[in-house]
Symmetry: C2
Subunit: 347 residues, 2 copies
Amino acid sequence: MELDSRKKAILYAIIENYQETGEPVGSRTISKLECLNCSPATIRNEMADLEEMGLIVQPHTSAGRIPTDKGYRLYVDRMLEEQKERDLPALPMVELLGRRMDRVEELLVKMAQVLAANTNYTTMVTGPHYRKNKLKFLQLSPLEAGKLLAVVVLEGNMVKNNIITLEESLDDKAIVDLNFLLNNRLIGLTMEEINLALISALKEEAGGHSRVVVQVLDAVAETFAQDEGYPIYTSGAPNIFRYPELTGGDKASELISTLEEKKELGTVIGRLSTESGSRQDIQVFIGDEVPVDSMKDCSVVTATYSLGDGVQGKISIIGPKRMDYQKVVDTLKDTMNQLDRVFAKEE
Amino acid sequence: MELDSRKKAILYAIIENYQETGEPVGSRTISKLECLNCSPATIRNEMADLEEMGLIVQPHTSAGRIPTDKGYRLYVDRMLEEQKERDLPALPMVELLGRRMDRVEELLVKMAQVLAANTNYTTMVTGPHYRKNKLKFLQLSPLEAGKLLAVVVLEGNMVKNNIITLEESLDDKAIVDLNFLLNNRLIGLTMEEINLALISALKEEAGGHSRVVVQVLDAVAETFAQDEGYPIYTSGAPNIFRYPELTGGDKASELISTLEEKKELGTVIGRLSTESGSRQDIQVFIGDEVPVDSMKDCSVVTATYSLGDGVQGKISIIGPKRMDYQKVVDTLKDTMNQLDRVFAKEE
DNA sequence: TGTTAGCACTCTCAAAAAATGAGTGCTAAC
DNA sequence: GTTAGCACTCATTTTTTGAGAGTGCTAACA
């Protein structure tokens, strides 16, 4: 069957109306609303066709229609295609960015908060993938007998620290030497690259302190291993309560659990990174496309941010399938643009 | 009216039954359950008395009784009094503690998770109050042109780092000097004690670099100022969905919001610190006693933990008013004991 | 051939009505 | 002081009813 322009118009009208109301949309509503100038009966005929094509469904006989995942997909794809320029009120992201850009985690958390508050959906941000960023420098300091403080700085000024409990004591001289050795050999490498071969090579060089070298490297590696290599921040979880379709039955509970545990969220991210990004790196998952069971009633819109120096991660907006895709996509684009502008300017 | 031992027994029976079922408890249930050996009618008489005393109420005429806040209070006070030794299966807290005790935040988060999973309630842990802990040492390192990395270590090995963007560049020598100066003057002081008078004194001494001193101190102070001086971690928020009385209406939404925002939770903590702790520093807030509006249907049990070196904070378990106070209190005591054992052994 | 009016039909939702049942308070007997 | 018996109350559940929204179909119309 042909999807002529009127059918499209009707489909989009249904989607947008359903977006606002959350109620199934009837033929009468459409006939009034539209500049199509045709009667409910005509709309009904068209709707029957759209239903046959699998783009809309009736929740029950004699109810209005709601879009199917396939319907949404069509709508979203067109939207991403069109790239229509809209002017949104810019988010006060720059303000955040201006101050204390240095603290990456803090910045990400705030960003998530602003996005959640602005969209009324839930936001999830993954921190940069530590293992993929290069070591900028590493500093060992004596903390107390048998304990070392290791401060690790990665490109992009991500800082992590770790307290290492040693099995043997080291004097200050030894620490300075070790410091020098490690920096000399490791700077510029990513965590991934600091592998076994390298470690045993260092062990040789360290001579008497070989055990310490291993301990230090283990501890450092462990620091970056937690959170499966990247932290995940969420914000606006309570926003799901705005959407009855997400809170019926145990759904709210399951969603909140998923968000709290965060681990499973990684699968979304995992899935993301393997698939090729669409234009501007914005990807949309609709309903069943979301690879997390408890989110089958949700849609997820994802973008990749970059803070320069290879520091990058994903921002995702999680909402009901009837989310305002246009707004979400535009907001994310705006955010990405702001980030780019700030971090491009800086370099 | 006299609260004789039978009345007490009945009250406690009601409380414990309601704890399990969440349903109002009728006279018949009690009469069967109890070794009191008396008929429902007798129980009814006693219940009428208990109601008159304000210890139990009927949600509506001809329903069973449920405990009032006052009833719970009586029950809890007795329980805290009795100090009955029960043997709970010990939580696998030690296991956590054994490994990587050094990372305080990580430890606290894990602890919250274990407690939440074990009790089926929500757990909230406040990190140590940074401002009250003494500075152990402070280290400035050049990061790149115009940027310094400041690593601050407090007693108890709490480490915070901060990237400082300077208005002027400093050569290595200057940084070393500044480092020395700051350490010399600030070690052993708490963040609270590093006040304006001290800062201006340092400014004098720093001579040419007075602006830098201020910037560094500001940045450090700001690091510890965030989170109002201490972080708050929560875990097990989804557990509230287990208790219908917490999820009716918008309650779930409000509770989850409160937990997510965390700020307001501080008021509980604030209230706590002013009131004198009961035995073993365990405090119980029942219903209206909780100083947070969205938690008027909850009870909160709080304990103070100490990780040695003045590193201390609060652990709170948040659940419905009909929570298993005995279990929660015992679990907290057990946890505190384990902490004490580990950290006492260490010193 | 596409559009429209009309109408019977279906199904949800809300309100009203009726049945159910748990639990009480009271009284009178033990 | 305790208990059996009984009438009464009130939330809950089920049933009934009615209203309303929306459809599909048919027949007329341009």
